[in-house]
């Protein structure tokens, strides 16, 4: 076995995979802008992707905010800089932790559910049946999930931001002896449009990645229950990794001048 041949084969496989994903994403995006749009399905998916993710996203945001306050207090008190706790919690949650934590939780929940559902439809020929009923499966299955995820993720993250800051507030005032009134005014004075909006932009991109990876892996699954299981795993792992990579790129674009 020739080493170069092996490397070449892996490289070609990589190109084929990225090419297939790019074609799929292109089809999905053009599907979003060409009628018909299935509004009822978009609404249903917003419930499933956005609304039902609220508990898990809210809880993780709450504890993350609390832990953030504790750790920053711990670090800042070495320099007598405790007064910065509210600001750092606010910036940390809105810029990074809100979108990333919510994104990862939703990736685990939603990318898996989408891949399992669409994958099952694929292996039981339901997607072929859609085609024969002259309904484009991309428009009927992918577009509603994509639109719903892109719209609901920013809303989810906005809520997660509030709950995360609340978590920091409760940890600080109950555990660390901060003055409640001061903490609040310190937080409110330091909210900036850029911090919040950058987080929401990230959220929308994460929503796109999550739905895309769920749908793409579902569509490609083959061979029964085992195939669907593999697609589900791949969907979650690839969505999470792509999400973190995209976060790095977006942070560069949004903050590093």
């Amino acid at each position: 076995m020739n080493l170069f041949a092996a490397i070449g084969r892996v490289f070609l496989l990589f190109l084929r995979e990225t090419g297939a994903l790019a074609v799929f994403a292109g089809d999905a995006v053009t599907g979003c802008i060409r009628p018909p749009l299935y509004w009822a399905l978009i609404g249903k998916q917003m419930m499933r992707i956005g609304y039902f993710s609220l508990p898990v996203v809210g809880l993780t945001a709450f504890f993350t905010g609390g832990v953030l306050a504790l750790q920053i207090y711990n670090g800042a008190s070495r320099y007598g800089a405790e007064t910065f706790v509210p600001v750092v919690v606010l910036v940390g949650i809105t810029r990074e932790l809100g979108p990333v934590i919510a994104g990862l939780m939703v990736a685990g929940r939603v990318a898996a559910a989408i891949a399992a559902e669409i994958g099952t439809m694929r292996v039981t020929e339901q997607i072929d049946a859609l085609t024969t009923l002259a309904t484009n499966p991309i428009k009927y299955l992918v577009v509603p999930r994509l639109v719903a995820a892109v719209v609901s993720m920013p809303i989810l993250v906005a809520i997660a931001d509030c709950i995360g800051v609340l978590g920091g507030y409760i940890a600080s005032t109950q555990g660390l002896g901060f003055n409640a009134h001061l903490y609040l005014s310190n937080t409110v004075d330091n909210v900036t449009y850029n911090d919040v909006s950058s987080g929401l932009i990230k959220a929308a991109v994460f929503g796109f990645i999550i739905a895309l990876m769920g749908c793409y892996n579902g569509f490609r699954s083959k061979g029964g229950a085992q195939g669907v299981g593999a697609a589900t795993t791949t969907a979650v792992v690839s969505a999470s990794i792509l999400l973190l990579a995209a976060n790095y790129i977006l942070t560069n674009l949004l903050f590093v001048k």
Partner: protein, 258 residues
């Protein structure tokens, strides 16, 4: 061959999966208004053949014509327009498990033709009646039905939009003999009253004799015999003879190790 014009025609269609050749140059025409039955052993590529016609699978070689126009490489809207002429019963029904039974049946009416939902509901219940299912079944989910009931819902879905061409992939498999005969009658009347062109796949020779105006046999990726239904008993073809009499001995070797 009958004088009618070809509704669907396959010319030299080849399809392989990896090294495995499934279709090896299929030539077949289905004339307007005829009821063709394709017989053949399990795994000979009957389902693959109709999936090629519908464009679910892309043939490696060959051409497919519908109403005289080549459809082999159509995409997007042009393909949807052709598919609107078709109804299809999948071998394993392929019902949408996220939708109730009636919406499965009405799917082509609502999504494909933009019919209002209550009108489509009415039509769906009527079609369910034709396959022997009462209106109460309409509200159930497909997972709550038996295999034979699912097959009949799939049948109702295939005929719901009164398509010009209907493909039935094993319409009577898994049904009791009486219901199988009801379904045979339904296929016969659909062809006669609506003027539909049908292609049915079956292993059930009773059903084949009843619904077919012509029978074709697929073996090793080719059509090895075709002729009017009446000619099947003296085809003079040893493969056909063996198949219709269901003998283990003969030119068709089943790949079983003893």
């Amino acid at each position: 061959m009958a004088g009618g014009s070809a509704k669907v025609e396959l010319k030299g269609v080849k399809k392989r999966f990896g090294d495995k050749v499934v279709l090896d140059g299929v030539d077949l025409r289905i004339d307007h208004g005829e009821s063709l039955v394709v017989i053949g052993g399990s795994g000979t590529g009957k389902s693959v053949m109709i999936k090629c016609v519908l464009g679910i699978l892309k043939p490696d070689e060959g051409q497919i014509f519908v109403d005289g126009k080549e459809v082999t490489r159509l995409r997007g809207r042009a393909r949807d327009a052709v598919l609107r002429k078709f109804g299809m019963l999948f071998q394993n029904s392929a019902l949408f498990d996220s939708l109730p039974v009636w919406e499965n049946v009405a799917f082509g009416l609502i999504q494909g033709r933009g019919m209002a939902r209550d009108k489509a509901h009415e039509m769906a219940i009527e079609k369910l009646g034709k396959v022997g299912l009462g209106p109460e079944v309409g509200a159930l989910s497909p997972a709550e039905l038996s295999g034979g009931m699912q097959k009949r819902v799939g049948l109702a879905r295939a005929i719901a939009a009164d398509p010009e061409i209907i493909f039935f992939d094993e319409p009577t498999t898994g049904l009791d003999p009486i219901m199988a005969d009801v379904i045979n009658d339904l296929i016969v009347t659909t062809v006669r009253d609506v003027g539909a062109t049908t292609l049915s796949i079956t292993h059930d020779m009773v059903s084949a004799r009843k619904i077919a105006s012509r029978i074709a046999m697929l073996y090793q990726g080719r059509i090895i015999w075709q002729g009017p239904t009446a000619a099947i008993d003296n085809s003079g073809n040893p493969f056909v003879e063996q198949f219709i009499h269901g003998r283990a001995e003969g030119p068709i070797k089943m790949e079983v190790r003893r």
